[in-house]
Amino acid sequence: MIEAEGLTKFYGPLPAIRDVTFRVERGEVVGFLGPNGAGKSTTIRILTCYMPPTTGVARIEGLDCFEQSLAVRGRVGYLPENVPLYGELTVKGFLRFAAGAKGVEGKRVESEVRRVVGICGLESIAHRIIGHLSKGFRQRVGLAQALLNNPSVLVLDEPTIGLDPTQIIEIRRLIQELREEHTILLSSHILPEVAQICQRVLIINKGQIIATDTPANLTSQLQKSAQIQIQVRGQAEELASALESLSGVHKVSSAETDNKRFFVETDRSRDLRPEIARLVVDKGMDLLELKLVDLSLEDIFMQLVTEEPSQEDTPS
């Protein structure tokens, strides 16, 4: 369980985050979203006891990150941004060091290292020097060290940044597998990723949490109208105006590259799909495709972070 209450951190006179409050329940996977410089890493560094907050309280499993720092650090597995690693050590050597540093007893070190090497698929490179590894393998070594000593909470700062698509899929699969045993907070600015992996998202902008909910709820809350996409075959010239005359339809536009493809904006309160389908068929055309287009997390995100700050937020 992760709790943040009114976290504020000043770097000199500049606040990096202001009054950040949220909770992550046990066993949840929560995505931490925000543009670069929004305060994601600062929040994460406070939660992992790298630095204390200026004001506010952070708790992991009920333990205070500042007062009981050592106990908290023993319960958190942390993958820092950019994955700093000791380049001169071998993968196994580094993991042995990390296991010892995390308080794994001497006898268990070997088996614990073997366990995380297995989970992260590092067998083939276990004896190589970390400095010679590719970015993807470094990332996995970073994840492996976070998993040592089986911490109940995992905090991953940008776990997939800089990886190629296959590696991203692999890391994602790994995180999916880990969700059963760990509470996971992962930060990212890649939105589809968060939508796929996380049950809940926290969106942070300019040092403040501006939204927190499941991706689905965020979508429905922010979506003012539903969009239905259709593709037809046949004489489609009059279709647009016919569609517009249906009650509940706000606007019809056709795709620029393909005049047989239409985007229909409708009321959210009613599902117009059956009526649209019937209309197309009645007009003597073939309906090739019909789907409800959801507002993507990207759209929500853009909507949220570009919104004008309300009066009280404006810095004086």
């Binding site: 006891c49 942390y78 000791y86």
Partner: protein
């Protein structure tokens, strides 16, 4: 002392994996060997003259004429090399960001400081072992007494530890290794020559300055005398800078 052993082993590995250690060891041992060789050859020359002159023969003393200058020379070389051994300890971790790992593992700050210090002192001791063949050679050629020699080595080790505690502290101040080395070299040199100010500093101030001088306390060790006041000086020196390093760690955390 949770995690001390892990960090100590990691630090030792990193030290021995870096070319800096070998360059430093090579230079140190070549120069140390040259000093010992010169001292022995000079002593040899004097011995020839002494064989003609019974008065002079009485004053011939291996400890005084070979080993004392040798230990002093080691001190000077130490001044040059100890900043090079300590400069990476924190600066590199700050530069590469591994500080973030170290700080988020369940390790008390003092374990980290002590483990780093112990590792660099161990590495230095390994280099010092490299000077022993020269001493064995001396033992084969002449008959020096062992206890003063051990005392001299203890002195070099204490001097080295003090230098390295200061080096760790300057390394914790910056993420640039060169800056760390320059700062620690400057501070050590200043502490080395501070005694010169004694002559014009006035009575009380002069004594304080004289006490601060890092090399003055080495004198008794190089003569083979174990003086508890000098022992205490080096211990306090070391503990003081390790403590400053610890405080600097806390400050670093707060600044983020």
């Amino acid at each position: 002392m949770k995690g001390f052993v892990s960090v100590y082993r990691k630090e030792l590995y990193s030290l021995f994996a870096s070319p800096v250690f070998y360059a430093v060891a090579f230079t140190f041992l070549i120069i140390a060997g040259y000093f010992l060789y010169s001292a022995i050859v000079y002593f040899n020359l004097l011995s020839f003259q002494a064989s003609q002159n019974p008065m002079m023969a009485k004053q011939m003393n291996i400890m005084e004429m070979v080993l004392r200058p040798f230990f002093f020379d080691l001190g000077i070389v130490l001044l040059l090399i100890s900043p090079l051994l300590t400069m990476r300890l924190y600066a590199e971790e700050r530069k590469t960001g591994t500080m973030e790992l170290l700080f988020t593992y369940p390790l008390p700050d003092r374990s980290i400081v002590l483990a780093k210090f112990a590792a660099v002192v161990s590495a230095f001791s390994v280099i010092m072992v490299g000077t022993l063949p020269g001493i064995f050679l001396l033992n084969y050629l002449g008959n020096p007494t062992w206890k003063p020699i051990l005392c001299g080595y203890l002195g070099v080790l204490l001097l080295g530890s003090s230098f390295m505690s200061l080096g760790i502290f300057t390394s914790s101040l910056t993420q640039n290794q060169i800056v760390a080395a320059v700062l620690s070299f400057g501070a050590l040199l200043m502490l080395w020559v501070i005694g010169w100010a004694k002559s014009y500093a006035g009575a009380t101030m002069g004594e304080v300055i004289d006490y601060l001088s890092v090399i003055k306390h080495f004198d008794s060790f190089s003569k083979g005398v174990l003086d508890s006041r000098d022992l205490l000086y080096y211990l306090i020196f070391t503990v003081f800078f390790l403590f400053l390093t610890l405080r600097q760690m806390t400050a670093y955390r707060w600044r983020g």
